[in-house]
Amino acid sequence: MLRAIFASLLLLTGFTSVQAAIDPTTLLAGVKKKYDLVNNYSAVAQLKTNVLFIKAPVSLVTIYYRKPDQLKIKNQKGVSFVPKGTVNINLNNVLGLQNFEAIDAGSASIDGINCQIVKVFPINDAEEITRATLYIDPERLVVLRSLISTRENGTYEIQMRYGAYTNWGLPDKVVVEFNTRDFKLPKGTTLDYDNGSTKNNSPKGPQKGKVEILYKSYLINKGVTDAQLQ
């Protein structure tokens, strides 16, 4: 009797999840439709860099975006080392793909929100992106997490949190995780003062770096010039 109940429950759960899962291509189209509302934006944001070999203050940046995939982060105040892969915070790099395979990869919970996982594989070999995994909130039609592997710049994990600009598909906070290479200059070039700290903290092997972007304000569809994107 118990076996029968358990089997029925399993079947029911499976059936429900099959019912809840939206076709990945349809889901991506829904997300794209939302992102397509934004033709361009300029945003003021705070940028925090957390890389083992970099000690940097919080810097103020302006982010310029223009459809389909032009994105530029410029320092408004302060010097900051922006990872090249942050261009992938603009999801049009993935959503704008014309020729791709999308596979449903199940579901996962992010901050209590049930997300559908979609894996995207470009068919064209010339694409900069080799594959992407998107964690999509099917209710709000926004991407909460993405893992993007690129041909030139390695793999980036991007987490996004939404607030005031959810209707435009624009996040309030973005955290980009990426692989870093060792930073090492030839011995004797910098004639460092030995204060006893470098021996213990020197990074060894590949490390993960993190960049956090906290958006303060957006100016949406007000135009972005070529000069701003230079």
């Binding site: 925090k48 860099t49 957390n50 890389v51 083992l52 070999f53 970099i54 000690k55 940097a56 203050p57 919080v58 810097s59 982060i73 320092n75 302060g78 010097v79 900051s80 080392f81 922006v82 990872p83 090249k84 030139e152 710049n153 390695g154 990426f178 692989n179 870093t180 290479r181 060792d182 930073f183 090492k184 200059l185 030839p186 011995k187 004797g188 070039t189 910098t190 004639l191 460092d192 003062y193 030995d194 204060n195 006893g196 700290s197 470098t198 903290n201 020197s202 990074p203 770096g209 993190k210 956090e212």
Partner: protein, 294 residues
């Protein structure tokens, strides 16, 4: 009495044309470095950032600012300034002996200790003026030519970015520390000068000692790193750079006003003061016992 002897010694230093060679050389080197960085500064920054060019967008134009140029100049110059200091301090007693004025000097109605301390003080004033001159050209000149921005400091294994509002006091600290280090060199040259009859000897000897210890330090061989380097004055002379090494919090953000391992900086400062007192004391003892009649 001390003040009047000091005044006379300063007068003697600044009457000599060779004193101004040091000021001229510093001005020339600073201008040359500024010109070179103005023309090829981007290439200079590439050298430091090349390994990261694939991962990060390198903001070369912002890195190349007045503060960065000043640190680059200090890095290039301060290692050679001991030579310029030795030129003056090494001549203090030996120069008098060579020209035959040492006996006349000792005939003044003051103790030999006062006389020697006045000579040491005059050397210190020279060091400070040299550094002020350097600050004028290297810091203010570079700020004028390259503007202000956050300061990026490159080390062998990491890089530090310091907010521009947190930079100026670090330069003041670095210049004061450099004055301490160069005063130590002046005291060593003065000490050697006491035991020489020819001005060239202590000047060359001072420069040679600095070169030998710099090479030992740069060899980075464990046998020297564990024995000589912790006590070598050349190790601690680089302490001025310590003002540009900052701490970061758990999120990787630099902490304003912080210095990485300030106790190490303090220890280096104490060691340099210790060396200075040691050489000045030996100089006083040597000069008091010096036979000036033969």
């Amino acid at each position: 009495m001390f003040a009047s002897i000091l005044y006379i010694e300063l007068f003697k230093i600044f009457r000599r044309p060779r004193t101004y060679i040091a000021f001229g050389a510093i001005a020339l080197i600073v201008l040359l470095v500024q010109f070179a960085l103005r023309v090829n500064g981007t290439e200079f920054i590439h050298f430091f950032t090349d390994s990261q060019a694939d991962t990060f967008e390198i903001p070369e134009q912002q890195i190349l600012n007045g503060y960065f140029v000043c640190v680059a100049i200090l890095h290039l110059i301060l290692i050679h300034v001991p030579l310029l200091v030795a030129l003056i301090a090494g001549d203090m007693i030996a120069g008098e002996a060579q020209t035959g004025t040492l006996r006349m000097l000792a005939a003044q109605p003051t103790s030999r200790t006062t006389l020697l301390l006045a000579k040491f003080s005059a050397s210190t004033v020279y060091v400070i003026l040299l550094l002020l001159w350097m600050a004028l050209f290297a810091l203010f000149g570079s700020l004028l030519l390259f503007g202000q921005e956050d300061l990026v400091v490159f080390r062998e294994t990491d890089l530090h970015i310091i907010s521009q509002h947190d930079v100026l006091w670090r330069f003041i600290g670095a210049f004061i520390y450099a004055a301490l280090a160069l005063t130590m060199i002046a005291s060593m040259a003065l000490f050697l000068s006491v035991y020489a009859e020819n001005a060239l000897g202590p000047i060359v000897a001072t420069v040679c000692i600095v070169i030998v210890f710099t090479i030992i330090q740069q060899l980075k061989v464990p046998v020297f790193e564990q024995t000589i380097n912790p006590w070598s004055f050349t190790t601690h002379m680089l302490g001025w750079k310590g003002f540009f090494y900052v701490e970061k919090n758990a999120e990787g953000v630099t902490i304003d006003g912080s210095i990485e391992n300030p106790m190490a900086l303090l220890k280096s400062g104490i060691i340099l003061v210790g060396y200075t007192l040691f050489f000045v004391s030996l100089s006083v003892i040597g000069y008091r016992k010096k036979d000036i009649l033969c």
